[in-house]
Symmetry: C2
Subunit: 281 residues, 2 copies
């Protein structure tokens, strides 16, 4: 099976409707070139509001089935026959999560994954907004292969990638919002960010796709610049497609999932794992 | 604490005595330039005999305390005051293992780690020679910091790196023997090999040091060429020091272990791990 994956890199504003429309534009562009699974960046609903702790943002959390981004993207998934992992600020009763709602090629909700690892630090105040996810790591058997999706900070954790691989993932995807560090303007973590995920690609012998936002957001606190560098890496961790620090656009690549599966067997990582020795983890 | 780490890259022959002497020469060179912890490649006792299955090599397995490589390197560790992880073919009663014997700066044996993950494939017939290790992953509190050592194939497994980090490692080291693939002469895995370990460096926010052998060995079966590319990566996965595909020599770097520890706290990976969610591993 050949699956064409795509990652969207763009900036977002405080106007949710225009963010959804902008995302739809990129999805149409990617689908027009044959993409089957199309990944927008993290929390496309707004600016990355976690730069500060501000209670007003809790008004922007919605139940998954009622979330404007989900409702907005369902028709386009169905119309174009594409799979879309939609990253949202989710409300569930008294709880709020940083979640992905998986839309299948008919626009139906396949399920929800709630971000397991929640960061906290200057410019990334996520522990204020999001309860650590309770769903466990998830993969979805879509028409275009089994897709594992982690969310941003999850991408630094080999446990997340490995758990998705063990569940049978063919491809790993990470919607992201990452950029400058307010406490150290000179610090650029983009190379390390890529390397962590390139490592997951190698160790699990499967492609990794990451979609980050771009743009300097001045809505709150000190301005924060998101550094792009969205990429598609193959099963050896080699970066095949990449966008720059300020470009908007879509990157795409075809993967032969059957060939990847065989390659994974040849490497033998999953044959040689020693779960009896992993008690410390 | 500033620790100077070193990795040796060299070729080895079928003459164990000359291999030990050659390794001592590099250890003296590194220590002369201030190195504290000096890593030789995997199984320095001989050519990499696992290219084929040949029973004669079982004569070359010795108990750790009696192994000629251990006995040969203990005096130099003591004389120069350096820590040396010595990779050996170990016998323990009826069992044989691919092991590292850790020598402290007084030449004493701190303990033995037995390779947990054993590869098997054309040119790398390790399952014939080595029982999968029973020691679990280990770190050693040396005079120069807490050192975790994995062995070759272990280096592809994020579980090994993470387990050593969780035990308090400051630095991760991997003695290695890797090179060409007999079933596919065009295949060069060296970039993926580095990326896997660069990923461990990022995800655990600590340096990684890998020492590989070089040279084409024609002793057995089809000739096998070991590709070098020994390297020292920092805590962001950036490669700071590296040797080429055929160079012999030593690479070294100073690390401030206290600063690394602080940096690890700032990143928050260990704060944000969710061991309650890692059941699949």
């Amino acid at each position: 099976m050949i699956t064409k994956v795509a990652a969207i890199q763009t900036s977002y504003s405080q106007d949710m409707k225009s963010n959804i429309d902008k995302t739809i534009g990129f999805i149409e562009q990617a689908a027009g070139q044959g993409a089957n699974v199309i990944l927008p960046p993290e929390l496309l609903q707004n600016i990355y509001f976690c730069t500060t702790q501000d209670e007003r943002w809790f008004d922007e959390a919605y139940e998954a089935v009622e979330h404007p981004c989900v409702i907005g993207l369902q028709p386009i998934a169905k119309k174009l026959g594409v799979v879309i992992p939609v990253s949202i600020f989710e409300r569930d009763g008294p709880h709020t999560y940083n979640s992905v709602v998986m839309l299948d090629h008919e626009g139906s909700i396949m399920g929800v994954y709630r971000k397991t690892h929640i960061p906290d630090g200057p410019g990334y105040q996520e522990k204020y907004y999001f309860k650590p996810g309770d769903t466990g790591f998830k993969v979805w058997k879509t028409k275009f292969g089994t897709i594992g999706v982690g969310i941003c900070w999850d991408q630094w954790f080999p446990e997340c990638a490995r758990a998705m691989a063990l569940q049978g993932a063919d491809l790993l995807m990470y919607p992201t919002a990452i950029g400058s560090e307010p406490y150290d303007e000179a610090l650029d973590t983009s190379a390390a960010w890529q390397r962590a995920m390139q490592g997951h690609a190698v160790s699990n012998a499967m492609p990794v796709i990451a979609a980050n936002r771009i743009g300097t957001e001045k809505g709150l606190g000190s301005p924060q610049s998101f550094y792009g560098h969205s990429f598609i890496a193959d099963q050896t961790g080699a970066i095949l497609q990449e966008l720059g620090e300020v470009e908007e656009g879509v990157i795409m690549h075809d993967f032969d999932l059957k060939a990847l599966q065989k390659n994974r067997s040849i490497w033998g990582f999953f044959r040689d794992r020693r779960s009896d020795m992993y008690g410390d983890l």
